[in-house]
Amino acid sequence: MTDTKTTQNGDGNKARPDQGSRPFSIHTDLPMGVAVLLFSAVVFYLTTLFDEVPSAMAQGVPPTQFPRLLLFLISAFAVMMMFQAWGQEAKKRKPLPKVVFLSAVLLIVFVSIVNWVGIIAAMMLFCIALPILWGERRFKIIAIFAAIYPVLVYFLFSRVMEVNFPLGFFTEFFR
């Protein structure tokens, strides 16, 4: 045993290093720098939409000045980053597996349904869906986990810390 971490690709074979020569590819810091510059431009535009300063307060530093100073710095750093990456070959990056995107969607769905179905049901659904998505097939354990853990968390926060959660459909039931 010489290494502790092994990776397997989809068909179960050990991943092989790329043996052939690759064409020159653009360093990711270049498009990233462009994205940062675009972000700065959009946020700069947003600073032009700030309300007028009331005349009684007008002698201080305008509210736009500090964010604009920061945007200037961010842009300058982004240009430096692009300058450093210019002409450099991109590092080979393993493409993200589909499960990452599906997990992100699941996180969004979880947060979106809390108000609708209530926190307990949302937590339970999440505790079922994510393990299955990640390849867990011991359904009895998933069921026990999804039934017990969210209820424990709910009671800890609602009873001990007196937090009022959105309960959705179950509002009347818990009242």
């Binding site: 450093q84 990056r93 996180l107 867990e136």
Partner: protein, 494 residues
């Protein structure tokens, strides 16, 4: 000495001792789990501590910080996957030792050197923090502005991510801190009409998202990674021969770790790397490094735990976090309505001595836990990720919500979780963003106050010697490595 006795007397409270024990056990568990760091754990735990009185709340987080830094070494040695970034250097020699059947010896050395490093740094904290705080009495807004700027400039030199990306992250964090009502003019900035945003974006949901949510997606990306564990035999205390071999390394690493910890934004990871490199540089057995040198464990472990106390010094005395986790602890102090700095030392001595005591006790406790229970704690890695991470994210959602009981905070947590994952993938470390958010208000407010004080004459900053010193340090922090490289080239050329 009085301070030490005061800290010990506070720790005689059984409730506080129990809290510190919980923090220590929790810290070792969290530290041992790859992916879960003490920074993430303190961020997740922060909403729980809001309901607690300040002393136990901060003591709990401080104990978790100390123990979490040590806990990372267990998995670094046994599975070659550091449970926390500061233990990365420990794996270089710890795992080869485990492979040749010396896991117990390696764990024993990691435990003992971590304890020595941790206790040394708490003693330095006890002495240096009040002294630094007394110095801060003479600080006005210009000095605090220059100090905060220096803190942000140090982001350029933290190891994770490139310097320029860390600076972009830090500045972005400061920009996030500008969301809400501008306190001098009453104008709303970037609130998009949401009344919940007028008070700004709270850093707790951001921290939970950027550490917890982003890590969940990172784990999803590495589901195919399989860890092979080396069986841990009984943990062995270092022998006299081992001590003879490593005592100089431990002493050196204690100094290095504490010093690196004191520097704003630097933390245990940088300290451990330098501790390891220095251990190798001064060793008579350089060839053994990388193949299981005992000094290669003592060096980084003493250094990363020494950095914990060091990092608390600027956090408590000046309100400038010394590391990612101390940024969260600083956030906890703010949530409890406490502003670190000289007045905190005057008004809340029990809180400060409680923190010192908690850190001291945590270091002693994890010595026992490490020696007796490391084998048991290593088993935590057997918890399947398929259950661990849903559990973590559920806590993240509930924790983000519970602070203000508003779903908008959960939305913010989610947005920063997704953003944090994308940024990490493109080489942006999360800690600078958090540092920026924490320091954002301080930077803007002190800049505005200074300009009012100077009647908008920027040049008057240069009439303040302390501020000028910090500006020089900022300049060196930003351009020092580049200038040093150029000088080296010139000297080499000649």
């Amino acid at each position: 000495m009085d301070g030490l006795l005061h800290a010990i007397s506070i720790m005689t409270d059984p409730y506080l001792l129990f809290i510190v024990l919980c923090g220590t056990v929790g810290g070792v568990l969290v530290g041992a789990l790859p992916g879960l760091t003490s920074t993430m754990a303190t961020a997740l735990l922060l909403p729980f501590t809001v309901m607690m009185p300040p002393v136990p709340a901060i003591a709990l987080l401080s104990a978790l910080y100390c123990a979490g830094t040590f806990g990372g070494s267990i998995t670094a040695i046994l599975i070659n996957a550091p449970g926390a970034p500061p233990a990365a250097a420990t794996a270089i020699d710890g795992y080869p030792m485990a492979l040749r059947g010396e896991a117990g010896r390696a764990l024993g050395m990691a435990t003992v050197s971590s304890t020595i490093g941790g206790i040394f740094s708490v003693i330095v904290l006890l002495v240096a923090a009040p002294m630094l705080a007394r110095m801060a009495y003479s600080f006005g807004p210009p000095e605090y502005f220059a100090l905060a700027l220096f803190g942000l400039s140090m982001l350029a030199s933290i190891t994770k991510g490139s310097a320029v990306k860390n600076l972009i992250g830090g500045t972005f964090g400061v920009l996030v801190a500008t969301v809400g009502i501008d306190f001098t003019t009453g104008v709303e900035r970037f609130t998009f009409g949401y009344p919940e945003m007028t008070e700004g974006i709270h850093f707790i949901p951001v921290m939970i998202g950027i550490f917890g949510g982003a890590e969940l997606l990172a784990q999803a990306a590495s589901l195919d990674v399989v860890y092979h564990r080396v069986a841990a035999l009984a943990v062995k205390l270092p022998t006299k021969e081992d001590f003879k071999l490593v005592w100089k390394t431990i002493v050196r690493s204690c100094g290095i770790g504490t010093f690196i910890g004191i520097l704003p934004a630097e933390g245990g990871t940088v300290a451990a790397m330098i501790g390891y490199n220095e251990a190798r540089r001064w060793s008579k057995n350089k060839d053994e490094f990388g193949n299981g040198a005992i000094e290669g464990i003592a060096g980084p472990e003493a250094a990363n735990n020494a950095a914990t106390g060091g990092a608390m010094i600027p956090t408590l005395a000046l309100g400038i976090p010394g590391s990612g986790t101390t940024a969260v602890i600083l956030g906890a102090l703010l949530v409890h309505g406490l502003r670190p700095g000289p007045y905190l030392f005057q008004e809340q001595p029990d809180l400060l001595y409680g923190i010192f005591g908690a850190m001291l006790v945590a270091n002693i406790l994890f010595l026992g836990i490490g020696l007796v229970g490391a084998k048991l704690f290593a088993r935590i890695t057997l918890i399947p990720r398929t259950f661990l991470w849903p559990a973590v994210f559920v806590l993240a959602v509930v924790g983000a919500y519970s602070l203000e009981q508003a779903m908008v905070d959960v939305g913010i947590m989610l947005v920063f979780g997704l953003l944090g994952f994308v940024l990490r993938r493109y080489g942006f470390a999360p800690a600078p963003i958090i540092m920026g958010i924490i320091l954002g208000d301080l930077v803007e407010n002190t800049l505005k106050q200074s300009l009012l004080l100077f009647e908008h004459d920027w040049t008057m900053f240069f009439g303040r010697p302390i501020a000028v010193s910090f500006f020089i340090l900022t300049f060196l922090g930003l351009f020092g490595p580049f200038l040093f490289k150029q000088m080296k080239k010139m000297v080499g050329g000649n």
